[in-house]
């Protein structure tokens, strides 16, 4: 049974990584085919460095991901604090239901509805081209917000409200009590929310596709590349993305294990 379960896990991992392996192997192909291996070459990687369209798209993607993650984290954390303070059950339920809409809705519906909004208001104020940097940013903040809010709210629930009361009794202003007492205890939720927002934004294709206009992000450029003939340069780019994600995740994991060790040590003391 044990052997069988190991075998099963191995097969699923094989399934998950077979296309990734194929992609890495063919990114080093010396010929421009993605079916027949010609020989080993790094020319597709060299080509990427000179590909200005791709580089500017990468820059756009990073700017959007970082800005949208920061803004949605700040706005979302404030929202989570405010929502937990709402007493009226119906009002609370209404806000939470609206919050879940972007998570429940298909990306294509969110994308189309936001695009219509931008075009509608663009026309009202007389813009010819209403889609661009601002609209992608707004779209990304909008779909990131629920993930931030839903990762902060559980932390807030676990936080003892008496702590902030105690802080205020000891002379803190409510704002100071928030930053000194509440914020540290919900920080893991905020960090998780930020990371989720950042990665969701980095990876988003569908919503950006409908809202970006000429401000192309990396997934859009990849989409346009895969529409034309198939060459290994797309594979080279994804290999680089894969390695970056892989290294970041391993680093994150190491840091997490370390901080956990520290925490258990502190507890022991």
């Amino acid at each position: 049974m044990k052997l069988l379960s190991r075998l099963y896990i191995a097969l699923i991992i094989l399934f998950l990584y077979a296309p990734v392996a194929v992609m890495i192997v063919f990114s080093f192909n010396s010929s421009s085919s993605v079916w027949v291996m010609g020989g080993f070459s790094t020319r597709w990687y060299e080509g990427l460095v000179k590909n200005t369209v791709m580089l500017s798209a990468l820059e756009h993607t990073l700017i959007i991901a970082l800005l949208s993650a920061i803004i949605s984290t700040v706005l979302g954390t404030a929202a989570a604090v405010g929502i937990t303070a709402i007493r009226n059950r119906i009002a609370k339920k209404a806000v939470m239901s609206v919050t879940q809409i972007p998570m429940m809705n298909a990306d294509i519906v969110t994308g189309i509805s936001l695009m219509l909004l931008f075009i509608f208001f663009g026309k009202l104020i007389g813009l010819d081209e209403s889609l661009g940097f601002a609209t992608v940013l707004i779209a990304h903040i909008t779909f990131n917000l629920p993930y931030v809010i839903l990762s902060v709210i559980p932390r807030l629930r676990q936080t003892d409200a008496h702590l902030s009361e105690a802080a205020m009794d000891l002379g803190c202003t409510p704002v100071k009590a928030f930053f000194k007492v509440i914020l540290p205890s919900i920080s893991t939720g905020i960090v998780t929310g930020f990371i989720m927002a950042f990665t969701l934004s980095l990876d988003d294709f569908v919503i950006s596709y409908f809202t970006c206009g000429h401000y192309q992000t990396l997934p859009i450029v990849i989409y346009n590349m895969t529409k034309k003939s198939v060459t290994p340069d797309t594979y080279a780019l994804s290999t680089l993305i894969f390695i970056t994600v892989f290294v970041l995740l391993i680093l994150y994991n190491i840091l997490q294990t370390k901080s956990e060790k520290k925490r258990t040590e502190i507890r022991r003391v």
Binding site: W35, A79, G82, A85, M104, L116, F178, L249
Partner: protein, 276 residues
């Protein structure tokens, strides 16, 4: 919970304004576009035209349902076996499952062309054995495979998080009371893992039923899913935005109805299920 919450509800107001403008208003505008023609005059033509796309709706639901079922069947044992490992292997596997999720899904889908194409890896291998070539790419099977592949992490991870938090003594108790493996599964594991299944099914079904990239790349031009139909009209330009919104609106209502029924059947969870 009678704990006094900290903070003032006013700090939520920027978000409430934001969500009103960018979540609620866009949906209202979508309804407006669905019920008007390109000149802004009221019409029901878009809605009545939906009937023309019955086939696309049907195929989308069918493919997505099959893909979701396959994903569930594949992911369930995976998640269960993961919980049987020691903690550090569990954490490592969790990451291994998650990494592909953080890669661009366009490319992950695209790589399957290399594997499945008529001159691709599988057919090259088969021809060396004197077999084949099999028609793999541009088939419904390839589209469903793409859906399963792209979204299976979204099924494994919630199932795993529910199962890893499950009280092991319940399974032991069932064993002590004489349950065989199947009864243990049916009476204990299955009902307790339901919240994970519901979020997994949601997170696989919704993107599958609305996809347009997977069907374009792996299904050729023959399979027109509902996502493809929306994208097609979107690309035709502003004249077709009305019909595109009407189809999107119907898709949205359909998904919400599906989710509602599923949540009702699965017993509503107060916290809204498991996120991850």
């Amino acid at each position: 919970m009678n704990k006094k919450a900290f903070g003032n509800k006013l700090v939520a107001s920027p978000y409430i304004v934001w969500s009103a403008i960018f979540i609620v208003v866009p949906l209202i505008i979508m309804v407006y576009f669905s019920l008007t023609d390109q000149n802004g005059a009221f019409t029901l033509a878009n809605i009545s035209d939906i009937g023309k796309y019955k086939k696309a709706f049907g195929i989308s639901i069918l493919y997505a349902a099959v893909a979701t079922l396959i994903t569930l069947v594949l992911a369930y044992p995976m998640a269960y076996f993961m919980t049987k490992l020691n903690i550090s292997s569990q954490r490592m596997l969790f990451m291994i499952v998650m990494i592909p999720m953080w890669m661009n899904f366009l490319i992950r889908t695209y790589s399957w062309i290399t594997i499945l194409a008529n001159t691709g890896l599988i057919n090259t291998f088969l021809s060396k054995l004197g077999l084949g070539p099999l028609r793999l790419i541009n088939t419904p099977g390839a589209v469903i495979l793409g859906m399963v592949y792209d979204f299976i992490p979204y099924m494994i991870l919630p199932l795993y998080s529910v199962m890893s938090k499950l009280d092991k003594s319940l399974l032991e108790a069932a064993e002590d009371l004489g349950s065989d493996a199947f009864t243990k599964f049916r009476r204990v594991l299955f009902p307790l893992s339901k919240p994970g299944m519901i979020s997994g099914i949601t997170m696989v079904f919704v993107p599958s039923v609305s996809t347009f990239y997977i069907s374009q790349k792996l299904g050729g031009n023959k399979t027109m899913l509902i996502g493809d139909t929306i994208e097609y009209f979107f690309n035709l330009g502003p004249t077709y935005y009305n019909i595109a919104s009407a189809i999107s609106l119907v898709l949205m209502v359909m998904i919400l109805v599906c989710l509602f029924i599923m949540n009702r059947c699965g017993g509503n969870d107060e916290d809204g299920g498991v996120l991850m």
